[in-house]
Amino acid sequence: MASISLKKLNKTFGALRVVHDIDLEIADKEFIVLVGPSGCGKSTTLRMIAGLEEISGGELIIGTDLMNDVPSKDRDIAMVFQNYALYPHMTVYRNMAFGLELRKAPRDIIDRQVQEAAKILDITHLLNRKPKALSGGQRQRVALGRAMVRNPAVFLLDEPLSNLDAKLRGTMRAEITKLHKRLDATFIYVTHDQVEAMTMADRIVVMKDGHIQQVDTPQNLYDRPVNMFVAGFIGAPQMNLLPAKLTQEDGRFFALVEDHKLPLPQNFDRSPLAAYEGKDVILGIRPENFHELAPADIDPANTAPFHAVVELAEPMGSEVHLNLIAGGRNLIARVSPRFRSKIGDRVSLVADLTNAQLFDPQTERSILY
């Protein structure tokens, strides 16, 4: 049983509080990702779970046991570090076996565990090599193998892919996801890369300045962000956040953005919208919700023409990211490569408001959720 409870967990360095009263429940065998910008407290939280940082306040419970004062070695956890932290003077085999050797495990068990882990990670041919000869990806596999051989209840991974190149990162992401399914253990993964978070997690914990902003499944975070930070952080390119005024006409709500009158979907909850009628709001539209032509599968009542000037076109192969300027505001649209435009062109797009978001400009919280 490897469920984890963080109850008002906080961390202070002198007078500086870096983690503020975190409450989080992690289910057994869940793959949870802590994501956020640098300095948001995600690695510190992970290190408190690992026992590498003293907990300043609150409770850490693994299973049913309070772990605040339990040494790391007794917590049934294994950690994978960003810089791999392999022992350079030991072979891969010795690196992987070291933890079990310290626990005085029998030789045959050590050998079996190491060989098994090496087979799963496809590093059997590296067992007699030193880390110096290995590439970054191979070193990361060894670090994973070292964690695996201990059969821990919880795996803690602290940005394990950030030192790898983009292509290798993609491969290793899939490997780690498959590993989670195979090992059937709880994984707590820290990253600043929202693509990693979205592709790997059962649930994502978005953090900022030591606070949890939102905990939800990747799709829910994408579709229903609770504040502007989460809306802007999740999704690439990030969501366009445009100042607007909320108006009502003939029972229909509209967001006025400069000279654009954008109809809000009829299925939006009317009571929060009514509270903001006539007031300034922030309208969030994702780049993929701008189209050259209105798609056939979208309700035309939720669309409106949108005019802007092209500032930059970034061809990505399968799509083009248009950096646009409309009424002094910058925004990004994702269009197909067939859409021809050059810098300075005035373009007409169709804005789809079906998945639009609305935020309070003062509190930055979502009006809709």
Binding site: P88, R94, L126, N128, R129, A133, L134, G137, Q138
Partner: protein
């Protein structure tokens, strides 16, 4: 001091799984380059455990065990595996040393005697040649015995048979290994005193590694053949 950190942490070229495997001399050189420090430590271990002299044969067998593991690219726990092999092969190694030592001494004596006699009469050329061949074969047989013993546990007589077969089947790699061992010692003598540290640092372990490397193919062959025969003989 970043250079020092980089020495240990700089990313390597990586080792592709499906790269063509080296064989022969390039593989030998690669293993020696990779394991050179372990070979130095192995040499020191051999010298240390040979000091009582009666343990010299067991230390030789233990060195052969470690050398075989290195040649097979197996993980090695140097001290632990050395001591284990020392204990496991102590009796057999001592018996081997007595038999092989006596054989080689008798053979060497015969060669010396017939060589002296052949200087005066060509009649002794034939026995000289015979004693040379027999002594050489005995040396190969003794080396194969060591390698078969440390590869698989078999009875003394079976090991004798299998090692004789190995010495007859493919003698050339082992002969090359023994020539290499001889070269090491000749180099030590020729370049003395510059080469004074050679025996302490590498002569024994590197020599045994060369023997293990040269013999691994034929030893695997005779053991596999012996395994097949015992399988076909079963009812």
């Amino acid at each position: 001091m970043q250079w020092l950190e980089a020495f240990w942490t700089k990313e390597g070229k990586g080792i592709p799984k499906d790269a063509p495997k080296k064989t022969g001399l390039p593989l030998f050189a690669e293993i020696v380059a990779r394991e050179w420090w372990e070979l130095v430590k192995l040499n020191l271990l051999f010298l240390l455990f040979s000091l009582p002299l009666v343990t010299l044969p067991a230390a030789l067998f233990a060195t052969a065990t470690i050398s075989r593991m290195m040649a097979k690219d197996r993980p090695v726990y140097l001290l632990r595996d050395f001591l284990e092999a020392l204990r496991a092969h102590a009796l057999r190694a001592t018996l081997w040393a007595l038999v092989a030592g006596a054989t080689v001494i008798i053979g060497g004596g015969a060669i010396s005697a017939y060589a002296e006699a052949a200087k005066t009469s060509l009649f002794y050329a034939a026995p000289l040649a015979l004693s040379l061949v027999v002594t050489l074969f005995a040396t190969l047989w003794a080396a194969c015995f060591v390698m078969v013993s440390v590869t698989e546990v078999r009875s003394f007589w079976e090991t004798l048979k299998l090692s004789a077969l190995a010495a007859l089947l493919r003698p050339l790699p082992l002969l090359a290994a023994l020539v290499f061992v001889a070269t090491l010692w000749i180099a030590h003598i020729l370049f003395y005193p510059v080469s004074v540290f050679m025996p302490a640092v590498m002569n024994f372990s590197l020599g045994m590694f060369a023997v293990a490397f040269g013999a691994q193919g034929v030893v695997a062959q005779v053991l596999a053949r012996s395994g097949e025969e015992s399988t076909t003989q079963e009812p």
